[in-house]
Symmetry: C2
Subunit: 325 residues, 2 copies
């Protein structure tokens, strides 16, 4: 493995070919061009073995999830993705592992028409850091701070799936449910955990419609608080409105399903807010793009306060979102 | 440490204030503006405890080195730095450690007028990944691939210091030298190891003058080969011309000093090539900016071949640069 440059060997050929990449992998740094009228959007996320994925997770899934969670952050800003950089820490240069990881990476590079423009490899504990860069038209980025009292709260897709998926991946399904789970449901839930789909199209459609947006990585309760704090609002959330997949709902009792939806995180759906005036515009825009969204509550003026209701009755939970430390 | 966002708490206040940062730390991603006529330059590097710095290294130095090695990559492209993102993996949220790390980071943010625009924290083995972004005017980036046979080979500053610095940091100076080392020399060599200075001004001065450039991170022999391979050249290097500091030269015998200079890496000086026609232009430009450079050899047409001479005699060494795996 002497003189072995992993990035060069495993990733250069698969790195994509965008016209806006002037210098890609193989120099001291990458050189790229931003289109006129667009702002640069940048995000960085690290996935660490044993923390963000199970040590026996497939390298193919690890690569895809590491990219997806970063693209999800771009989606939450309304940005479209362009380039990624990779820092890979791995205990050894295991060729099988790297091939699988590289093929996972290449699939998403192709699918999203992005390009791997550089990176670094170190010998160490298994960890993947991706920096994703993209664009958004000037002044159209969707922040966490633009929401107002009265705005409606929406989420895309279904939530809570990845939480149960993690229990299944850890073989703990008997501990969380006495219902039997179908193989099909298990496969769906595991896919939601291991292969999250960043809501990139939704993000671009929400430009100039949503007042605020965040992606659900740490859990709804944890993540909505960022919007409440930064927008100086409170919120009521109707837990009877939470969009739960039939795979989740059929596999565990209702309270547990709701708990996953509120606190498990890792779903990478978007949570966003829309003024009453934009509601019609939103629904037309998303319906024409076939994007499933659900209104789950409304903002109010009680700064930082989050109230949960179940069919109009106050709902008590004692759960926290994901803690980084 | 509940609900404790390290990046927000320790780094937001110290992150700098650039007018081209529209959205900085605290949202899903950062939004920044690139000046017209400039290309974006991006690089990522990870420093891992026990590999790239000693486990007992001061957090202040770790922060500064992690930034410096990335800015050095921008310097090698002729770029000026603008923004950095940080992914910090740490075993615990140790307040003293984080304060020291954060103060080291802030000093460089202020010194280089850059801004920390985002990042991620994870609980894990101590590792610091920085992504640095900067600009270079369109078509003025300096690559590794533009050199031609006949071009002169230069390095900035002095090389080999960090190699001996590392031996001192590991308390191995008695094993590498039977000379006594002065405290002043030791301090200088340790500073070269722990606080490398990216050659940013030099990089910008070399635009349209240098034909190729790389920063010396893995050692001269290892790094020049990237230029030779990518530019399809060979080189002769005169080891009697290598710029050695008096601190290095006074502390070890000549052969070891040369070995450090050729192979130890971590000096973060620039190695660059200049055509004979540009030689005068180069020397005037750098002299007026008071930048020390030394011509150490010349390129030729023997593709990929590196020959070393000592006062005209072939010089044999059996050394390799830093191996990432």
């Amino acid at each position: 493995m002497k003189e072995f440059n992993l990035i060069e060997h495993f990733f250069k050929a698969n790195s994509g070919q965008r016209k806006d990449v002037i210098i890609g992998i193989g120099d001291d740094a990458a050189v790229t061009h931003i289109p006129q009228g667009q702002a640069l959007v940048t995000t960085t996320d690290t996935l660490l073995s044993g923390v963000h994925f199970l040590p026996d997770a497939s390298p193919h899934a690890v690569a895809q999830k590491a990219i997806a969670v970063n693209l999800s952050d771009l989606a939450a800003m309304g940005a479209e993705p362009a380039w990624i950089s990779l820092s890979l820490s791995a205990p050894s240069a295991d060729e099988e592992w790297l091939k699988s990881f590289s093929s996972g990476l290449q699939e998403l590079v192709d699918y999203y028409s992005i390009q791997l423009i550089g990176g670094d490899t170190v010998q160490g504990p298994l960890a993947v850091t991706i920096t994703a860069q993209g664009f958004v038209p000037f002044e159209q980025a969707i922040t966490r701070s633009g929401a107002n009292p009265g705005d409606l709260v929406y989420v895309t897709g279904t939530i809570g799936d990845a939480g149960l998926g993690l229990a299944i991946a850890k073989n703990e399904q008997a501990q969380v449910s006495n219902k039997s789970m179908t193989e099909e449901n298990k496969a769906f839930l595991l896919k939601r955990l291991n292969y999250p789909t960043p809501r990139l199209l939704t993000g671009t459609k929400l430009r100039r419609i949503a007042s605020a947006c965040i992606d659900l990585s740490d859990g709804l309760i944890s993540d909505i608080k960022h919007i409440l704090n930064m927008s100086q609002c409170g919120a009521t959330i109707n837990i009877d409105k939470l969009p739960l997949s039939s795979a989740l709902f059929d596999s565990v009792d209702k309270e547990r399903a709701v708990n996953y939806a509120l606190s498990a995180g890792d779903d990478y759906e978007l949570l966003f807010t829309v003024s009453e005036e934009q509601k019609g515009n939103l629904e037309t825009t998303l319906a024409s793009a076939n994007i499933p969204v659900t209104c789950i509550g409304q903002l109010n003026g009680s700064v930082g306060k989050l109230e949960l209701y179940d069919n109009g009755q106050p709902y008590k939970v004692d759960i926290q979102g994901y803690q980084h430390f």
